[in-house]
Every structure is written in C-alpha cells, then in structure tokens.
Subunit: 502 residues, 2 copies
Amino acid sequence: MFEITKSDLAGRTGVLHTNHGSVQTPAYVPVIHPARQTIPSERIRKMGFEMVITNAYITRKRFGDEATRRGIHEIINFNGAVMTDSGGYQVLEYGDVEVLPPEMAAFERGIMTDFGIPLDKPTGFGMPKKTAAQYVRHTLEVSRQTLQAAEDNGQIWIGPIQGGEHFDLVSKSAKGLVDAGFTMMALGSPVEFMESYEYGLLARMIITAKRQIPHSIPLHLFGAGHPLTIPLAVALGCDTFDSASYILYAKNQRYMTGDGTRYLKDISVFPCGCEVCSRYTPAELRQLAETERTDELAVHNLHAIKLEVDMTRQAIHEGRLWEYVMKKSRAHPRLYEIIRIMTGNGDFLAEGTPRFKDRAAFLYDRADQFRPEVQRYHEMVRRFKSKKKTLVIMPETDSRPGYLSGRYAHLAKKFGDSAQICQYSPHLGLVPIEISDIYPAAHHETARNRFEPAEFVEFGTTWKKFFENNSFEEMYYDKKDRFLEYFAKGTRDIKKKNLNKK
Amino acid sequence: MFEITKSDLAGRTGVLHTNHGSVQTPAYVPVIHPARQTIPSERIRKMGFEMVITNAYITRKRFGDEATRRGIHEIINFNGAVMTDSGGYQVLEYGDVEVLPPEMAAFERGIMTDFGIPLDKPTGFGMPKKTAAQYVRHTLEVSRQTLQAAEDNGQIWIGPIQGGEHFDLVSKSAKGLVDAGFTMMALGSPVEFMESYEYGLLARMIITAKRQIPHSIPLHLFGAGHPLTIPLAVALGCDTFDSASYILYAKNQRYMTGDGTRYLKDISVFPCGCEVCSRYTPAELRQLAETERTDELAVHNLHAIKLEVDMTRQAIHEGRLWEYVMKKSRAHPRLYEIIRIMTGNGDFLAEGTPRFKDRAAFLYDRADQFRPEVQRYHEMVRRFKSKKKTLVIMPETDSRPGYLSGRYAHLAKKFGDSAQICQYSPHLGLVPIEISDIYPAAHHETARNRFEPAEFVEFGTTWKKFFENNSFEEMYYDKKDRFLEYFAKGTRDIKKKNLNKK
C-alpha cells in the first residue's frame, strides 16, 4: 500500500496506492468542504494534488443516504484519492456528536472513502492529563473496533494518534495503534502549537510518535499545511498533511510565501511565479471584488504550499534535506529553535539517511557536526585502530580523498610506514588517511571560515577516543594551528612536535 | 533619471527612466543576441523584463548602417529599454577589435540605445597589475571622451569600472568615472569569480567600487545573473545586472533554482511553479527534441532569475534584506563565506538601512549582532548617561517596550527612582528602560536558544562603555544567569548583588 522510493533523515518520498489512484508523497492534502467548496475540486486536481480530505460528519449530516448511493468522489467531484475525517474535530469543538463510532465507520465505508478515520476524540491542547488519558483510551478502543469491523476492500483505515502536549500519552497512543494493526497513522497537531509558533513542541511531538511507528507505516499530520512547517514535518517523517489554511488565510487577505505569510496589502511585487502571480500585479489583485480576490489568493496559496512540498521532495531526492531544513529554519526565530531538536535526535534522523550519497555534503556551522552522515563518520573513527607509534595530523586538502593529495604524498615519503597520517576537519574530526575515501570525508564542501574549537564538541570526543584506542608516543602537527592546538593542549603523555619544523 | 523608492542595507528598489519606458529596479537584464536570439524578445518582454542588453559590436558587424536606419529596438524587436555593450568583452576575448572608441560611441548613439557603454578594455581576472592599470587608464580616458562627445538626448552613458581582483584599481577606476560625470556606472565581474564560486571576492570588489560612488548613482553589474548571486549583489548596492546565463545554462541542460543549478537529469520533481514547470514533468521535458527542450529550459531559467529578483525586491520592501541574504547564503558553503564580509562592513551597509521599520527584526545567531539596526542601538547605548548609582539588570520581557512589562513595574516599585533599570538581550546588549521603545529594542524576535556569551563581542563592548560612562556603585542581577555572569565577572569596583535575593 505504501512504497518508499527514497529517504533522507526521517523523511521519505514514496507512493500511496489507493482504490482511486496513487499518491506521490510527501503530499499536501487540501481540505474540501463537502457542500460549500469555493475553489472547484477539479481545479485542485489539475494543479497536481492527487488526494484531498473532506469531512464525513458534515457529509452525512448534509447528504445522508444520498452520499452512500453516490459515493464521496462524486459528491465532492474529485477524481483521485479521498481521505475522510470522521468528525473528531467537531467533537473537540462542539462536544459530543450525535453519531456513534460504528455508525460513522459504516458511513465512511459506504461512501467508498479511500482513507477512513475512526471517530476519535482529539485531545487538542491544554487538556488536563487525566482527561487526555481517557480520550486516548477511548480513541484507541474505538479505533480497534473500527479496524476489526473493516472489510478487506482496499480502503485504508488510519489510526488517529492523540495526546497533545502530553508526550507520554502520544507515545502510548501511537504504540497502541501500531499493536492494533493499523497500516497508516495520523497525528493530531494542536492548532495552538501553530498559532503560537511553537515549532519546537510540534517537532518533539512528531518525534515521540514516530519513535513508536515502524518505518514502513505512512504517517499523516492533521492540520499542518503551512510552507514553514512542511519541510520540518517531512524531515521528521510525516508523509501527508492536510489543512484548510489555503482558503482560511485567503479569506483574511493573507498571502503565503516560503518565508511566512504576508497581508496582501504589504506586498509590492509578488515573490512567486504561479499562474495567479503571473496574471496580476499586487495592486491589480487588491482591486478585484472580494469573492474573486479570495479565490485567487486561495489558488496562489495552494501553489505556494505545493511548491514547498515539491522543493522538499527534490531535497530528499538530492539527499540534502538536512541542508534544506536548516536553511528554511531561518524564516522565523521560533522555527530556528528546531535546530536544537535536529541536533539532539541524531539517532532518530540517521535511520533513513543513506550511507552514501552522490552529492557533496555542504557544511556550514557547528550544527552540521550533528548531521547523520557526519555523526556516522565520527563513530567510525572512534573505533579506528592503528599500530603506529607516530601520529601526523594535517588539515584536509582540496584534493579528495586525502590520499590523492600532494601534501599527503610528501608526508608519506617523509615519515614512511612508521606514521599514522590523519587529516582533520572541524566538522568531521580526525580523518585517518586510510578511510579518507569514505563518505562524506571524500565528498563535502566546508565554508572557509574561522571555526571556534570550543563549539566542536564532537571533534573533542573523537580526538579523546582516538588517543585512548591507540598508543601513539609522538604526534606531529602545526603548532600554530589554533584549532588543533586547542585539542592538543589537553592531550598528555605524548611527545608533541611541530610539523613545519621537521 | 534614477529614482530610489526604498532602501535596505546598501540595496534599494527604484525606477530608471529611459527614452523607452521606465525600468523597476533591481532588475535582471537578459542578454539578447542581435542576430541569433532563440527566445523571442517579445516573450521576454511579456515575462516582465523591462530592459535587455545586446551587443553593439556584433550589431554593427552584422547590420552596419541598416542598424542606424532602423534603430536597435526594431533590430532586436524589443519594446522597452535597451542597453548596449560596446564590444569590450570581445576585446578581452579576441584582443583588439577593428573599431575605434569614438566610432563605437557614434554607432551606439545612432542606433538610439537607451544605455550606451564606451568601448572599454575589460581587465578580467589574473591580469598582471601593471597591465590592468594601463587598461583602467585607457578605459577611463575613452569613457571621458565618450561622455564629452555625448548629446543631451536622453541616452544614458554608463561608466565601466575595471580592475578585477586589483581592488585599489577598482577604487581608482570608480572614482575617476564619478569625477568624469557619469550618472550610471557598471562594474565588470570577472567570470572567474563566479566559476570558482569566489563570492567573497565578488562581494569585496562590489563594496570597493560602491564606496566611491554616490548613493544616487545606479550601478550595473556585468555578467551576474545567477539566483545565488542576485540577493548578495543587490544587498551590496547593484541595481541592474545582465547575463546570458539563462540560455548558456539551458544549452548544457542545466536548470536554475534558488538553491543552485541542477542538471535536468537529476530532477525528480520541479521545485518551481513557472509556466514551463507547470506544463511538463521532468521526465516529459527530458523527452522533448533538443532545440525545444533548450528553449523551454531557458524560459524556466528566466523565470527562476526573475523570481529571485522579485523575492529580493519584496525583501527590501519589507525591510528584511539582511535576513534574506543570510538565509540565502546557506545555498553553498562558498556563499556562506560572505557573512564575514557582511558583518565586517557595518558602516557601509548602514547607510541605506532605515532607522525605523514596521516589521520586527528577526535575530538568530551571532552574525545578527552586526546587522545595521542592532549596531545603531549599541552605538546609542554606548553614549547613554545615567545619574543613578544603582544599576538593575533584567532579561528582556515578552511585553515590549520593556517599560510596559509587569516585571519592570515590579522592579520600579521596589527600587523607586534610585535605580537605573536595564533589560538585556544577547544581540542588542543593554537596553536602558528609558530607550526600550526605540527600534529595534521594542520590535524584534529572538530565538530562545542558549547563547554563548563569548560570541557576543558587541555586548561586551557596550557593557564596558556603559560602566565607563556612568558611575554605578552597585548592581543587581540574577547571579545564576550565566550569560550576564560572564560579563559581570570582569567588572570590578562595583558591589554585585543578587536580584532574586532582594
């Protein structure tokens, strides 16, 4: 049902196979109103969206049995995959709804949805833990029953993970749904996280859930459809995400960009090449009648979201998702805070990161010592054994692998077989010449900046391990190299000689 | 002739008024071949490019007197502003050309170009300094004569600055042309700077030239038309820039993106919403016949360049050009190196930066202590005088200006009139409560990260000055605040009291 084509960090590109065609992931899933949709769903399909989400609860209320006769695809006029939310949000907003979970499941089955969601009880944000725990238990129970009653007809049932800011509940909820046998999951992202720009909380919630979910199971994220959150959500392993933001923002005259949202009145030139932005200047769009202006803005917003998804997909394809997310995080100081979460969850991000990439890793600042490829190199060097008694350390050379450099040839000749020769890079740490051809040692680009040794704690750890694991009696290095000197001064019981003086 | 509408850093948005319509700047100026143009110039006009550049030398060779009869606008079929290069590049490539500077100037005048360039001798890159100095002298002499012979007919003559990597020659060349009376200038950007990704050299060369040129004079940058260089060039004060990159890259199957250039074969999904990328999938585009594919790629490349210019224009409009350039610099480690140049030329970047902005300044890392708005605040605090003997320092509050915060009200009540109360921020330094409403103290967003005090040298300087300028006898602060403690421990002759203990 879900086929992964490529992965990077915890993100992946893939294909979801459904009863109504396949869906390339990651995918944004626009919300379609079953009765009051202003942007025609055919137009949304033509823009390249292969899946939409609509509300089964409202559909049932509005269309009743007619919906079962005609099917949801005809009701909303969408030729592609349809996901139906079951009314859980209405539970959150208006308290209990007058339909029981098994009835709703039967209705979703009847309208031939491609992705059904059991009638869950969303925990939202700010709910006392005890109540949230009850909601999680209830949702889990309903979900189990729904799945047990499901027919083997190609419909995909999604397990709704709840828990909000109570991360232990999120974890329990995710694990329970996996155990119940769901082949796709969805995570509730409290609208409060987004409204208060708490991207750090959102990131930690996603990681908590993902740590309980096997790699092969696709994850949907509810209510996330802003260009700012998309690369982050994808990097952490979300495959699809829905929201009505495109139209809600448009109604407030808000224009989405990859750098955040702007009011239409504040735009002097459209920083976008989509059909809407090519047809109008900002002044012209402002002069349209309100309905038309809102629709055009909504179409632009859909394009802006799609562009962000496509840029993220291409970043996965190229193996530079880390770089893309780091760059993107500079759109807002709150988003920048997620760097701490990225650097602190290396093990989680490593799983989907390929061991070898065609493309050079671009290394900028201290955060990059924590990217999975670099961490892996450190781990390898921390296990490296040498029988030599003499250690020679030189900076990395422009020719790579290092053993192809003239500088290495010169030192190899000078020291013969008696010395262990290493190159070094602030990010990668020590690079024993024998393994200087392993990715990313042989294939990276580093900014030629002055790096502060104190910031490179991974270098320090590798350095310490390297000396512990081996029995060097003397080391040669350039004592004027202040980066090396910082680490060398803490290393005792070894004769230190100046490389340039020999 | 040049009207500046808004400015930020050394960049500005403006309008160039010409004999053939006005040109919104910053503007990319596509190169049009006078005889072998494959993308029709009307199509380029329709895409929104208001000015193109073509080669007067080739036009003269190919069309001779016909060009003078018909005019360059008809020859290249462009309804907008036209700039003509005079053959200087041909001088560089093929040695001397068989036309004298006055003849070329007369020809450019005759074909009714909007922007003429005297027949200069480009210095390129790697030329011995002595020869380069001769070239600069020759170009200056030719330019002076051309300008003196010019008619007052609305044509704009551009002074070509040369010097390459010899920055003192660049400076002399720019100054000479300003003194000669040019109202627009152009700077030769050695193709070698770009090919070897030496963005730092490019930035230093632009700054060197700009320091000699009055703010009111527009500056064109030759041969720069890549999405990676555009925000940087604009931020340093370039108003227009030309290149043939859109078609040259297309011929090599290279697809431009805001994150760099990709081979068409390496793209899985187009990270772009332009007309070309909406019409084809990458696989479909790859299957087109070569000529058609090259043309479509060239059109996409034009869109990608235009998008970058528009995003940069909008960033100036919003007053967040610093943030945009910093974010953009993460597209390549060599581009990231320009941060050193941005932080080291605060005085130069401050000139065009407004004192007050509507939008909050977003502060991320150590580099942001050097942005002009922040530097200005430091300068103000370094001149701040207080008659109080007691100093109270608290972290900045969420409510701003700080004097509106509950925390301030509490301390003001506790200490009464006897104390000078300050807030602090790692980036802004000390914020005396009396001036906590001045931009950007009242209007910024900072990532809630753990900042290393050693990185905040501007904080240290302001701290030192603040104590030198005033005669505090005691200071209250939270001694557990490790950021403050780092600076307080170096401050002697003052009683230090714990704020939380009082």
